[in-house]
């Protein structure tokens, strides 16, 4: 290969700006996903079919279609169907947030179902009412158990957020694409952008691994 690398051709400024947009998207989507995922999980486990079915459909739809289809759909179809015109950033946050909400709801549901039955029975024996049982026994247990999965889902959304570049939100991926075309240096630009993504997500995956190992030690 006779290609001379020139990493100086890549200006970091736009990439950093892009990273900030990516992080904003990630944090906002995570806020939606973590907070609204829990009530959605409760709906998923409802005994009433009319409540359970729409919630299940929502979750399965987001889990079984490609994220890129969801994002493109959101950008083209929501304005046409509902006649609302939001900024591209808001649209990006909503699309990613709803996607994450579906995945987190599954994580919460698994964690809630993993709370041992005896604990709830003990709650009944102690004379706690249903609300107290959910709030003081099930919720803290389930939250703690779901933290590793929530973190993993959060980092997946950080990576999926690169998809909004396709609909022209100026995130890290978008800036990298623009820079690569402007400078004719795709190798250097995409390598640096990939390393930036990696530098953010790798520490989080290490934390998740550590949390899981600690949990195994504690429960065994």
């Amino acid at each position: 290969m006779n290609y001379t690398f020139d990493f100086n051709a890549v200006s970091l400024g736009p990439l950093i700006e892009g990273l900030i947009v990516t992080l904003e998207l990630t944090v906002a989507a995570n806020l939606i996903g973590v907070i609204l995922g829990f009530p959605l999980a409760l709906l998923l486990m409802s005994r009433i079919a009319v409540i359970r079915w729409p919630a299940t459909l929502f979750v399965e739809f987001f889990r079984c279609t490609p994220a890129i289809v969801q994002i493109v759909w959101f950008f083209y179809c929501v304005p046409m169907l509902f006649n609302v015109f939001l900024g591209s950033m808001t649209m990006g946050i909503l699309a990613l947030g709803l996607n994450l909400m579906a995945f987190n709801a599954e994580a919460y549901r698994a964690a809630i179902q993993a709370v041992p039955r005896e604990q709830v029975d003990a709650g009944i024996a102690l004379g706690l009412n249903p609300f107290q049982r959910v709030f003081y026994i099930v919720l803290p247990n389930a939250l703690r158990a779901s933290i590793p999965v929530l973190l993993t889902n959060g980092i997946v959304i950080f990576q999926q957020s690169a998809l909004v570049a396709i609909v022209a939100v100026q995130d890290l991926m978008y800036q990298a694409k623009t820079l690569a075309t402007e400078t004719y240096r795709p190798i250097e630009t995409f390598t640096i952008a990939a390393l930036i993504y990696f530098a953010v997500s790798f520490p989080v995956t290490q934390v998740v691994g550590w949390l899981e190992r600690r949990r195994q030690v504690l429960t065994s």
């Binding site: 290969m1 006779n2 290609y3 399965e60 739809f61 889990r63 079984c64 279609t65 490609p66 994220a67 890129i68 289809v69 969801q70 493109v72 759909w73 083209y76 179809c77 046409m80 169907l81 990576q159 999926q160 957020s161 690169a162 998809l163 570049a165 396709i166 991926m173 990298a176 694409k177 690569a180 795709p186 190798i187 995409f190 390598t191 952008a193 990939a194 993504y197 990696f198 997500s201 790798f202 995956t205």
Partner: protein, 221 residues
């Protein structure tokens, strides 16, 4: 606005061709990716620190960066690095195989680990030779336990394969976007495209749950 799904009837064939590309790409990468993943999974348990190190860097890097950027890298940079022209299909296959290899290697690693230490001790107590231990005791259990997760890996791959549309490969998503741009009917076209993806991925995820239940019961774990 009024919805008119009949426009899609004219594009049945185009959508079918796109879907076929998506399925073909997914199947090729499932086979190649699982094989790669199995080897990498073994490499990560290797006693040699160099082999283990290389395998870990590969897996962590591909799991730690967006698939979109991996695709862009392989489409635009790999031909420059290698100095050869790569066809769209070849680049797509390389990118998605590497992605699939990284995620399935984790699946294989976890399932190899889940085979209890007692089993190996029992093999030693019975005086079984090493290759019998691996082929007849460890491998069947590991593969069986990996099946549900491998299936969900396949579903992930199927979904991620839609990304190749961003680099101009004519898969289902690409064809759908083209039709929606030409007919100015994004709502109908994109909804149908999403439903086609759903119609394939949803039964597969159900199968995962079903197999999980069956296998868990059968193996009593």
């Amino acid at each position: 606005m009024t919805l008119d799904f009949s426009v899609l009837l004219r594009f049945q064939e185009a959508l079918a061709v796109g879907l076929w590309t998506t399925i073909k790409l997914t199947l090729i990468c499932v086979v190649l990716g699982c094989s790669l993943g199995f080897l990498v999974g073994l490499a990560r348990t290797s006693p040699s620190i160099i082999v283990r190190g290389i395998a870990s860097v590969y897996v962590e890097f591909f799991r730690g960066t967006p698939v979109l950027i991996q695709l862009f890298w392989i489409f635009f940079c790999l031909p420059l690095v290698l100095g050869v022209e790569l066809s769209n299909l070849a680049s797509g296959v390389i990118a998605l195989t590497l992605y699939m290899g990284a995620i399935t290697s984790e699946t294989f690693r976890a399932s190899l680990k889940s085979v209890g230490r007692e089993q190996l001790d029992a093999c030693i107590a019975l005086g079984l030779p090493r290759h019998v231990q691996v082929v007849n005791v460890i491998l069947p259990q590991a593969v069986l336990r990996a099946v549900p997760t491998l299936l969900s890996n396949c579903v992930s791959l199927f979904k991620e394969s839609a990304l190749v549309s961003a680099v101009g490969m004519a898969d289902l998503m690409f064809v759908g976007q083209n039709i929606s741009n030409n007919t100015a009917r994004p709502v109908e076209v994109l909804t149908i495209v999403a439903l086609i993806y759903f119609a394939i991925a949803f039964p597969l995820t159900r199968a995962v749950t079903l197999i999980e239940g069956r296998i868990l019961k059968k193996l009593a774990i």
